[in-house]
């Protein structure tokens, strides 16, 4: 029985790390710009389809596509911010909401028109293989995807902590007026941040398609999941996003195993409600 629990927990951790990377993008954008990206999940789904296409026509492993696709999504994010999102920064939340939900609807319907409603799978040669470590069965694709997610998250930490641009972005979070006074180009930094957020979600989508099929209708579920994770971890906290992802992954897996699999999602919401009541700022969020 112990080995079964071990398996369930390990699966939860691996899945949670990928969820965490996806939520990280949402957290970074909100933490810096105070803009909630309601099209977050849809961007992840677009990345899943992009990965699917490249895999189908060129046979390229998704792991090799993480950086190119993250780069592409960075450019898209930067351009999107400059042309659209920037005009909505600082405006009422409902205006931001309408813009980004509209964008999400366009993406979902675009995907439906191009790919149809069927699920599209990336059938990797090792997609159904697993490692046997004692009593543990670790699916290879899930393990690789989780490790890649962890490495990318660490890379982002390093970027934000040790580079000049990262420091400048953090300065905007700490004191926006001050950042402007010392001559930082806030608009450009916001565009970079939005680009980073989309790069995260692009990378997460690339990894997600290793463990789940791409479907146009998935976006809203991913957006909701990312919200839950970010709220549990703490809005704007990068560590919180990763911890929240793992927590959701593990708690869903355990709830599914111990209580009933169909109650997994309910358990996430219960956890969310508990956090909102007991620690509204999230596990690692700062009290404002």
């Amino acid at each position: 029985m112990f080995s079964l629990y071990l398996n369930v927990i390990s699966q939860g951790i691996l899945t949670g790390l990928i969820y965490g990377l996806m939520a990280l993008g949402l957290s970074v954008i909100f933490g810096v710009m105070r803009v909630v990206n309601f099209a977050h999940g849809e961007f992840a789904v677009v990345a899943m389809y992009a990965t699917f296409l490249v895999f189908r026509y060129y046979g390229l492993d998704p792991l090799l596509m993480i950086l190119p696709l993250a780069g592409l999504f960075f450019v898209v994010g930067y351009a999107l911010h400059v042309t659209m999102v920037d005009r909505f920064v600082g405006r009422a939340e409902h205006e931001q909401f309408i813009l980004l939900v509209g964008l999400a609807i366009i993406m979902v319907n675009g995907l439906l028109m191009i790919f149809g409603p069927d699920a599209r799978a990336v059938n990797l040669p090792y997609g159904l293989d697993s490692y046997l470590v004692g009593p543990l069965i670790i699916p290879k694709a899930r393990l690789y995807a989780a490790v890649a997610a962890l490495v990318l998250a660490c890379g982002l930490f390093v970027f934000l902590r040790y580079t000049r641009t990262g420091t400048a972005i953090r300065a905007c979070v700490d004191n926006l007026v001050g950042a402007g006074v010392v001559g930082l180009n806030v608009k450009r930094l916001y565009a970079i941040t939005f680009g980073i957020g989309l790069a995260c979600v692009g990378a997460a989508g690339t990894l997600m398609v290793m463990i789940a099929d791409a479907e146009p209708s998935l976006g809203s579920a991913y957006t909701l999941l990312a919200f839950i994770i970010v709220i549990i971890g703490g809005l704007g906290s990068m560590t919180g996003a990763l911890v929240g992802g793992v927590l959701i992954g593990v708690s869903e897996a355990l709830a599914g195993f111990v209580i009933a699999p169909s109650m997994k999602s309910m358990f996430s919401f219960a956890l969310l409600a508990a956090i909102l009541v007991l620690r509204p700022q999230g596990l690692m969020g700062r009290q404002t």
């Binding site: 079964l4 409603p117 699999p261 169909s262």
Partner: protein
């Protein structure tokens, strides 16, 4: 002489002509519709979670007018996508009736079908259910509804009987099972039917546990871990294509090798999406379902029309959805022909009196009982072989013999 006689204007002729003109102009539109085609609206989940099945039904509907015309029936179709959303199903039903639909056909999913049935009842427009198994559909006293599909209980009763035949035919020792079902309307109705029917069906195996899962979950690895912990010989599943794919993948990844994966009456294991995603891993899964009768003339006509219309799709894979959708349209068209009117109550009376001996799906004549349920539908045991559904039981309609236990996963990849 005759012309001159005909051209003569008399008092009697004027009265007769006026009476005829009055009758023609004054009669209800429904009488004049006798020579026209019946306007049927198809409500299907063409996008969203059930999209694959909805699209499959749609493919059957698209070819139906031509095939029906060859049999002397005339229908015009309009399509309404309810996006796998029950609330939208109700809205689309209202819209279809508002657009002039004289009969509705749908809706593949039980929850949506119930929502549409309420609208049809209020508006007195007949609804012919193509596919939907939840028992309440024909248990709530709807007067404007018939169902040409088994209830969950009927599917399961037929399924369990056929599974017993399957075990006897293959002589494989199967002693334990886990019942894994989606927690949607259909899945839960099958669960209730299973709880009721299994104890009295004297099956040669026991159900160790019934496990429900969320069919829209991204990952079913926990469910598979739970099944694996019980180590049953048979995994009985009630799925749709997307979750069936996740379940099989999970079993392969967790190296769980049941002797049989059997669906006692659900979709999922025969969808093109399932074959595409799993390749050889889709083979040897078994399902007991009503199936198109390959020997029926109408099935052959339908298949002949299907191939050129949908060259990218296989009739063998689509035949379940295509067959039942076509039959629903056949029932509507046949009733319209007999009734000679599209008036709701008269058309419904004709639908209730349906008796069609030659049709597509395996079973007796299409007839409805007092509740509007067709009880003459029969199931077959179908097994995926070389990525194609093949009837393996009963022997009179089988084209191959069943293979049990399933070969190991890793020999196939």
């Amino acid at each position: 002489m005759q012309n001159a006689h005909c051209g003569k204007l008399t008092r009697r002729r004027v009265v007769a002509g006026a009476a005829a003109a009055t009758a023609l102009l004054g009669s209800p539109a429904v009488v004049r519709a006798e020579t026209k085609a019946l306007k049927v609206a198809l409500l299907l989940p063409q996008s969203g979670y059930f999209a694959a099945a909805g699209q499959s039904c749609y493919r059957g509907a698209v070819i139906a007018p031509k095939v029906l015309a060859d049999y002397g029936y005339h229908v015009t179709l309009s399509y309404y996508d309810f996006e796998s959303n029950v609330a939208k199903a109700r809205i689309q039903a209202e819209r279809a009736i508002g657009d002039g639909a004289q009969c509705l056909v749908g809706a593949f999913e039980s929850g949506a079908t119930l929502a549409i049935a309420q609208v049809c009842e209020q508006r007195k427009v007949p609804l012919v259910v193509n596919i939907a198994a939840a028992p309440p559909i024909t248990e709530q006293g709807y007067k404007y509804l018939v169902r040409n599909f088994d209830t969950g209980g009927q599917l399961l009763t037929n399924g369990l009987r056929l599974i017993k035949d399957l075990i006897a035919a293959t002589k494989v020792d199967l002693t334990t099972a886990v019942f894994l079902h989606a927690n949607d309307t259909f899945g839960m109705s099958m669960r209730h039917a299973m709880d009721k029917l299994f104890p009295v069906s004297h099956m040669p195996f026991k159900i160790a546990e019934s496990i429900s899962f969320d069919p829209q979950a991204q990952d079913l690895s926990v469910e598979v871990t739970k099944v694996r912990a019980l180590n049953p010989d048979i995994v009985l599943v009630i799925t749709h294509a997307a979750d069936a794919i996740k379940l099989i993948r999970g079993m392969v990844m967790q190296r769980f090798e049941p002797k049989a994966i059997i669906s006692p009456g659900s979709p999922g294991l025969y969808d093109e999406e399932f074959f595409d995603a799993l390749g050889p891993l889709a083979d040897f899964s078994i399902y007991t379902l009503p199936w198109a009768n390959p020997k029926a003339q109408m099935t052959q006509a339908l298949e002949a029309a299907f191939k050129p219309a949908h060259p990218k799709y296989r009739f063998a894979v689509d035949s379940f959805n295509v067959g039942f959708t076509f039959e629903a349209l056949l029932i509507a068209a046949d009733s319209f022909k007999r009734a000679g009117t599209a008036n709701g109550s008269q058309l419904m009376a004709a639908i209730r009196a349906t008796d069609i001996a030659d049709h597509v799906m395996i079973g007796g004549p299409i007839k409805f009982d007092d509740k509007g349920q067709n009880n003459n539908i029969r199931s077959a045991v179908v097994q995926n072989r070389n990525r194609t559904p093949v009837v393996v039981l009963p022997p009179n309609v089988a084209t191959m013999t069943p293979v049990l236990p399933m070969p190991p996963w890793h020999g196939r990849t």
